[in-house]
């Protein structure tokens, strides 16, 4: 049994103009100590997925269907009390902006002690000792001093280290990191990412890394999901997806990396932009931006504009694309005739 099993997760937002489906049919599993990446453009539903894992979707959002099983227990139907025991304790989360995540009026020590005391019956002294130990693990300079400092006295990199220390405080099984390095200086990004990876390996903690940086995903994670407009469009081992992307969108993302462009030329980009979730194109949501949509005769493939693609297995990956399905079918027919 996998540590975390998400199947057919469906999240909707009840808005004035009607229900918007922020996530549809998301499936994945996470084993103990495994690292999973979730990539996609802004608005693809990455952060919604992270929040719904802890059942913390804010109104007007709600989980409309599917299941999230943690150690075989269904988080979707768990009581608020039961969920509190999971949050922070077994599954913790790192947010994007370290400037905003720490409470400005409480000292670092107070925030760490509070988190420990919410889950364990220990004295403040013991809690401070644990907090200090975690601060040492994240290699922060002079950790004793930090406990009594306030967030505004620390730099962005240090704050993110403290947030990682808080995430590790209760030795969780899974850490969800929602773009943990986006708000940081480029030179510090690599440092923080390396630290996070090292700590996860050391403690055998599972990591769900949400990012739009494909380079980081390929270095850090073993498997990845590519999301587009609330759906997973490609998932499988990270290395295979990065080396041989099947879905036109994934191909576009990889092509858009700065290192893929020829020097002196413009960077590659995917034309158009992500559609609004309340007004999705028919069929495959990506078809208006897809470069492969026009066949030889210049007409779009009818299936692409009419039918939402199902997943097809391609090697170790699963891809939701009509074109890939067609190619695989062609290949299978050829092999049969041979």
């Amino acid at each position: 049994m996998a540590l975390l099993e998400v199947s057919h997760l469906d999240v909707r937002f009840a808005l004035r103009q009607g229900e918007v489906r922020a996530l549809r049919d998301v499936n994945f599993t996470l084993e103990r100590g495994e690292r999973l990446g979730i990539v996609g453009e802004s608005g693809a539903g990455k952060s919604v997925a992270a929040f719904s894992l802890l059942n913390l979707i804010a109104k007007p959002g709600f989980i409309a269907g599917g299941s999230i099983k943690f150690e075989g227990k269904e988080l979707n139907s768990m009581s608020e009390r039961g969920l509190r025991k999971v949050r922070g304790n077994r599954i913790s989360m790192i947010f994007q902006d370290p400037m905003m995540t720490l409470n400005p009026v409480l000292s670092i020590g107070e925030q760490m002690v509070e988190c420990l005391k919410a889950h364990r019956r220990i004295s403040t002294k013991e809690a401070r000792a644990i907090a200090l130990d975690k601060l040492r693990q994240v290699q922060i300079p002079s950790p004793e001093k930090r406990l009594d400092q306030y967030p505004h006295e620390l730099s962005g990199g240090m704050r993110q280290r403290i947030i990682i220390a808080i995430a590790l405080l209760l030795d969780p099984d899974i850490i969800i990191a929602d773009e943990p390095t986006t708000a940081l200086d480029v030179t510090i990004q690599a440092e923080i990412m390396a630290l996070l990876l090292e700590l996860c390996e050391q403690h055998n903690v599972g990591l769900i890394l949400i990012t739009h940086d494909l380079g980081v995903v390929s270095q850090v994670t073993q498997r990845m999901l590519v999301m587009y407009a609330g759906r997973v469009i490609e998932q499988g081992p990270s290395r295979e997806i990065i080396n041989d992307p099947q879905h036109p969108y994934t191909q576009g993302l990889i092509n858009a990396l700065p290192q893929m462009a020829t020097p002196g030329e413009k960077l590659n980009q995917i034309r158009g932009s992500m559609p609004s979730l309340s007004n999705l194109p028919s069929g495959c949501a990506f078809h208006p931006r897809c470069d492969f949509i026009n066949r030889a005769d210049g007409q779009p493939r009818p299936a692409c504009t009419q039918q939402v693609p199902d997943f097809v297995e391609s090697g170790n990956c699963r891809v939701a694309c009509h074109m890939v399905a067609e190619m695989l079918e062609d290949r299978r027919l050829k092999e049969e005739t041979l």
């Binding site: 802890l54 913390l56 109104k59 969920l83 509190r84 025991k85 999971v86 949050r87 922070g88 304790n89 913790s92 989360m93 947010f95 994007q96 902006d97 905003m100 995540t101 720490l102 409470n103 400005p104 009026v105 409480l106 509070e114 988190c115 919410a118 889950h119 002294k125 401070r128 000792a129 200090l132 130990d133 004793e144 001093k145 406990l147 009594d148 400092q149 947030i163 808080i166």
Partner: protein, 314 residues
């Protein structure tokens, strides 16, 4: 073994000395003067039994023959009574000291009650939202649609009628605290709710929820400290308002009885004699009231400028 050392952490006093609050206070003459006046008045009022030459509550010390004596700078003054005497022959200085104590007690007590109710309700309304919010805020609207005076008159009249005025006089301080406290809590609730609405969407609240903390704990320990500056600022205004409300009620005869007068009831008591030339009985307590309220209001203005630079009216 891990032992935490806190020797490097600055003490509270050092923090205050380094803070912007202290810096701004050092440069603001008005604030210094107001704080000095306010502290003098508070100390004088609360040490009234030590400072006052006579005990105005002790009927045995009152000499009706010495009534309406003028203050020392006017002919016919008695050396014993620096600020003269009132219509009952009580020493005006003593009774003003005791009266200021009553006024301050009611002012602070009423504001404490307002803050307790208003902050709790405002926090709940803002953080929990939905029906709780709608219910509490409509309650606040209803409360605000009665004026303080109207509530006080109704409550005071009902209590006096049912329990008798002896009972009312005995518990007048508590009654006034209760009335003014209940009448003005929506001010707090609205201010707190507005800042909670702004605070609750910040990421540290999400982070606290992700940590698995209870709502109550997030509300009081994480959100509340972040809404303290507007609370401080309106507290000063509310203390001044509460003192004035009390004075107004006493002036209307619904406040402190004449045996245990507040500044308001002193003004009222003296008002009857203003025509007969004994102006000091009403004007001197009036001046004390004005100075007290003015110093609190000016301190509040200064505090607002320091705590919310955006509001600065330059």
């Amino acid at each position: 073994m891990t032992t935490s050392t806190t020797s490097t952490a600055p003490s509270r006093w050092e923090r205050l000395r380094d803070s912007f609050l202290w810096y701004s206070f050092k440069r603001d003459r008005t604030a210094q003067l107001c704080l000095a006046v306010f502290i003098c008045l508070v100390i004088a009022a609360f040490s009234a039994p030590l400072l006052a030459p006579t005990d105005p509550y002790d009927l045995a010390q009152i000499d009706i023959l010495a009534s309406e004596l003028p203050p020392f700078w006017i002919d016919g003054a008695d050396e014993m009574y620096t600020l003269g005497t009132d219509a009952q022959g009580r020493d005006l200085l003593s009774i003003i000291l005791y009266g200021t104590r009553v006024s301050l007690l009611i002012g602070f007590g009423a504001v404490a009650l307002q803050a307790l109710l208003g902050v709790t309700f405002g926090l709940m309304a803002g953080y929990l939202g939905g029906r709780v919010d709608a219910f509490l805020m409509r309650l606040a609207d209803i409360q605000l649609s009665f004026s303080t005076l109207m509530v006080a008159i109704v409550v005071g009249a009902v209590v006096k009628a049912t329990m008798g005025s002896a009972f009312y006089s005995q518990y007048a301080v508590l009654m006034l605290i209760l009335i003014i406290g209940l009448a003005e809590w929506p001010q707090y609730a609205r201010t707190v709710r507005a800042s909670v609405l702004a605070e609750k969407n910040k990421e540290y609240v999400d982070a606290a929820r992700v940590m698995g903390l209870r709502s109550r704990r997030i509300m009081f320990r994480h959100v509340l400290p972040n809404t303290l500056s507007p609370i401080f600022v309106i507290s000063t205004v509310q203390i001044a308002n509460a003192i004035i409300s009390e004075a107004a009620l006493s002036f209307l005869g619904l406040g402190m009885p004449e045996t245990h007068p507040s500044l308001g009831s002193l003004i009222k008591a003296g008002f009857d004699y203003i025509q007969s030339g004994s102006w000091w009985i009403t004007l001197i307590p009036g001046a004390v009231l004005v100075v007290l309220v003015l110093s609190i209001n000016l301190l509040g203005d200064w505090l607002r400028d320091v705590m919310n630079p955006r509001l600065y009216k330059g």
